[in-house]
Symmetry: D2
Subunit: 377 residues, 4 copies
Amino acid sequence: MERIRIGMVGGGQGAFIGAVHRMAMRMDDRFELVAGAFSTDAENTRATGRTLGLAPDRCYADWQQLIEREGALPAGEQIEAVSVVTPNHVHHDPAKAALEAGFHVICDKPLCVSVEEAVSLRDAVAASGRVFTLTHNYAGSPMVREARERIASGALGEIRKVYVEYLQGWLSEPLEASGHKQAEWRTDPKRSGPVGALGDIGTHAFQLLEHVTGQRVTRLFGVLNTCVPGRALDDDDMLLLELEGGASGTLTASQVCFGRENGLRLRVFGTLGALEWAQEHPNDLHLTERDGAVRTLRSATEPTGEASRSLTRTPPGHPEGYLEAFANIYAAFARAVRGEPETLDAPYPGIEDGVRGIEFIAAALESSANGRWVTLG
Amino acid sequence: MERIRIGMVGGGQGAFIGAVHRMAMRMDDRFELVAGAFSTDAENTRATGRTLGLAPDRCYADWQQLIEREGALPAGEQIEAVSVVTPNHVHHDPAKAALEAGFHVICDKPLCVSVEEAVSLRDAVAASGRVFTLTHNYAGSPMVREARERIASGALGEIRKVYVEYLQGWLSEPLEASGHKQAEWRTDPKRSGPVGALGDIGTHAFQLLEHVTGQRVTRLFGVLNTCVPGRALDDDDMLLLELEGGASGTLTASQVCFGRENGLRLRVFGTLGALEWAQEHPNDLHLTERDGAVRTLRSATEPTGEASRSLTRTPPGHPEGYLEAFANIYAAFARAVRGEPETLDAPYPGIEDGVRGIEFIAAALESSANGRWVTLG
Amino acid sequence: MERIRIGMVGGGQGAFIGAVHRMAMRMDDRFELVAGAFSTDAENTRATGRTLGLAPDRCYADWQQLIEREGALPAGEQIEAVSVVTPNHVHHDPAKAALEAGFHVICDKPLCVSVEEAVSLRDAVAASGRVFTLTHNYAGSPMVREARERIASGALGEIRKVYVEYLQGWLSEPLEASGHKQAEWRTDPKRSGPVGALGDIGTHAFQLLEHVTGQRVTRLFGVLNTCVPGRALDDDDMLLLELEGGASGTLTASQVCFGRENGLRLRVFGTLGALEWAQEHPNDLHLTERDGAVRTLRSATEPTGEASRSLTRTPPGHPEGYLEAFANIYAAFARAVRGEPETLDAPYPGIEDGVRGIEFIAAALESSANGRWVTLG
Amino acid sequence: MERIRIGMVGGGQGAFIGAVHRMAMRMDDRFELVAGAFSTDAENTRATGRTLGLAPDRCYADWQQLIEREGALPAGEQIEAVSVVTPNHVHHDPAKAALEAGFHVICDKPLCVSVEEAVSLRDAVAASGRVFTLTHNYAGSPMVREARERIASGALGEIRKVYVEYLQGWLSEPLEASGHKQAEWRTDPKRSGPVGALGDIGTHAFQLLEHVTGQRVTRLFGVLNTCVPGRALDDDDMLLLELEGGASGTLTASQVCFGRENGLRLRVFGTLGALEWAQEHPNDLHLTERDGAVRTLRSATEPTGEASRSLTRTPPGHPEGYLEAFANIYAAFARAVRGEPETLDAPYPGIEDGVRGIEFIAAALESSANGRWVTLG
């Protein structure tokens, strides 16, 4: 099967997530990166393209140019897909334009910076008939898949409690004041949108919770804090949640938990069992069984299901990680682009996941501002 | 030093915590149990006393008789102290009567079942001049002490976030409906008071949080749930907290988290460091240092302080536990009774801790009923 | 049931294990310590006795006097049992004399310092008809019991591999040279016998291995090292083992593994499963099942058996530990002394365990000296 | 920088390690796979090449043809390097031929099947002046690098004890008897050479030990067992070791430890500290410091050194793994091929590591056969 010709928006030298996307692309060799608008700085774009071995005339000044000129190339030569890895405020416009130009799109999360933009993108996806994928990469992790399958099969009975947390510490200091690039845009409302930590990591926690439980959050009570003086956006969030099936729980997301790296952790308790997954040891899934003993499942071992096994590239005991989960998302995207058979349900986070994330943010903002419970649809 | 003659109220055959108290008493050989009103069932009291080697005429029909008749014995023979290990609703009356009769009192938690009772006991303690100790046993754990010392010394800088949880699963089923004695009284408002899980375990979490941080919770938002149909009291609680120093956090207490045993865990994040302690591995204290690395301190080892070392009876690597922490509380009580020198600050949870617990419960109830933040003094 | 009157040999102020024995005695309230020959220093003996509330005339100058004079007291007053907690070289004589005088004996490990002494004690036990118990305290740990039961039931199939290790670090420096009391006698051939680490901790590892597997070691290859210059006895041992059932494995015991506290750990692999237990987290037993998933059993929970449950005093989740395991040994000793029914097989380590330990030491010494495999009977 | 044109020997459909090599190649985009002799089955080779997008005329019948015909292509078109991923017995010949034809070589471990072959390859490397890399992939793990750096800097003082183990369970059953391809060749002396488990995993453990400690093993005592009846090679090994600096220790390698996946673990104890690393959680390095507390370093965090950081592609908290370590080896290989500056000492395992592995195997075989210590140079 021919590799997919893809172009990238964002991801110039000095960026973080663009390089991760490129590694994820290469892992299964399904993509060929042939074009880019990597930066608003033309020199950065040129240098990035050179490093990646791109033809200079396919390193574009901006995403508008990329979409326009690629669209003008012959069918067998032009890109088929666009990867959008810019800061949040530059997700909507290039993604929409790419879809309208007939390209498939894979976009970093959160989807965009307002409910209006989210709805606009949903409409654009529907109108285009193109594949749209959002890189909630944790959904690509084998044991997240295993957790989802176990809950769907009824192994936990009815869900009663859900605790999800995403604790980081890297914004404990006002790094944005000293020119730290990643901190700068994430704490800048113009680029990050109306929320900081909640968009950056809270949406991961939220998507994970809904993805694994298969249930929608229907109501929440939220408190969005800013702990570091002078910071323009929230860096610490606490929410109480209610789920459609009657469960309740908490979601905490913080970037000022000193020393924590990427403490994304989900615990689900049901009437017949429980489970726990933590991304820092992603190959372990802790399942509490009816007799109360905790079984630790490891990815790709005998007791795991077909679905999670289909997401592992290595035998049991070889730890998979972050990049591989990313690559699973890209792989599902590729299968969809090529119209190949798909054995997974919800093989990748899509436009609806993006919309949900934005609705979630809006509800949390409203609850926090008003000190009231807010209903989620 | 002569052993302290003590009498016990509650703790007859079939009870749980009374036996734990007796083991804790014996561990350091500072007590001699000489009298008891172990049960309202006279036969149970007699049998319990016989097993414990008590003189039959010092096994009393009820706590009133115990206090009256012991008080009538010669000074060198009568009990000096009373241990109260009854269900919550029978804490206040015997404790108060014992104090008024001139006995020291050590009482199980929570202190009682209403703010009125709590204030009444506080007054009684003040008027009596006697020692009063509440068995928040986790405060007796060496590494809890170490955590408190580290925070007091400024090792964490200013505290920003506090997460405390106490998750159990044993009430996932309606055990009270099938005659399970421990479940019965704990879910019965007549005996447990106005709260279930919150009093039984939430107060432990709360005391631990205030004890370790050295700060008072000043405001909270609470949701008290009853997950098991037909249960008369809360079995699952979620609270958002604010502390006097400006930190915020969550307190979760649940008895329907399937499979969990005694998941009491505290995490504190400051501007310069962080710490984590979990009672199921009580000898470990996880300290995050300024460079972000996590150091695991073990009780009684070189890097621990004098205070925590004074609470260990065994060399490093010999796991201490629940009973030993209990015994530390008894030991501090004994030192106080005997008027011996004390090197610890806050050597044992006292009347104020009890009052705080009851105020905490009342605030949580009010917040949950009204959906509002409630201020704690 | 009346408490057992007991006397103690050794355990004066400044000793370690004597105090542990006394705490273990008290935990279940089956013993009354009424006599002692705590030290060769008369003042130490007097002071120790005073602290423990003993009658001055039952604090004896030496163990000979203790046995003689107690034996002369009226039957209902004299001690019934002797606890021997002296350094290794003073185990044999008082234990033997006590047995010959008709007293039951509970003795610290290792049994003694030579095979001759071991045989002599075995004969004395047989001739006396008295109870003799050796405090291999780890055998009293509930999950050690659970491990033994699981293997006996065939859950692991045929055993193939056994790895046992006991790693400490406290003798990394020549503490004996600076007057450290515990280090002094343990590294002194006159008091410790012909081996250091091997007797002090290697025998624990060995007894654990044979106790849990239910199999005898039949052959070994050993290397006994002395790492700290100037030390008179081994402080680091490595052995290859063969078991009677055909399994093989390693036993490592070291007191120069920098920073390790009491790293006693056993791993057993069979044809159908595997298990792992480590004393620093004694409530966990890790069982690998047929499908390869690891189940973590916690003591006193539903999936554990009756035998291990009978050894726990607290509900699931309340960590038990070292002292409690000690107390289980004492409890089994008490049941035996009183002739009470016993539901456990091998309820306590006895004379045979002691003999085995000594044979084991002799074989290891021989193998190490000669660089050859040595057969164990 | 232009990508390196590479050809692969082995790695056809159904093989395991070839696909891993290809993922590792792609991760950093330094290689272009343009030729292959993937299998002795021509159809497999064709299909593999097709899947990988190779030109059909560069999919060769065997490695001899690959080397000959590629060498005949124009300089700017022919391959520059060969990746050898065949079973052990087909390492020496293609690697040597490739070197003699002027190609760089990256080869899977163990190097070959006899000391004669090893010496022959060493000579060929020296004569060729080409880069030769052996994929002892664990050496590419960031925290293995960190461990090595710490020891080299003296953080542990003088090394006293080394324990290394590699425990797997997948060969607990005679899989080779039922056509399991990976089991078949690994237990077949014709393809695997004179050892099974020792070559397959024992050499990893050995290389890790020497690489991290920076010391050579000078003497060993080995026992090579075959646990599964009918198996032609060892599946379980135990060795006692002595190191040139005076330390001693154990190396255990087994493929019949039921349920274990890839339990490679190294522990090193010195006079001033200790460390532990386990490949199943490769991002953690446990360092025992002078005060005895254990610090857990995570890869790419502040307390780690430049060397280990240079091996991570993602920020702290994003678990790296097996593939990434492989890719680090490839990256170092690429830098060497291109003659680029290198900041690491021992940037990749090379010919000497391969020779050491073979010498190690020979010594172990000899010791096991004769029941004697054997000296390693």
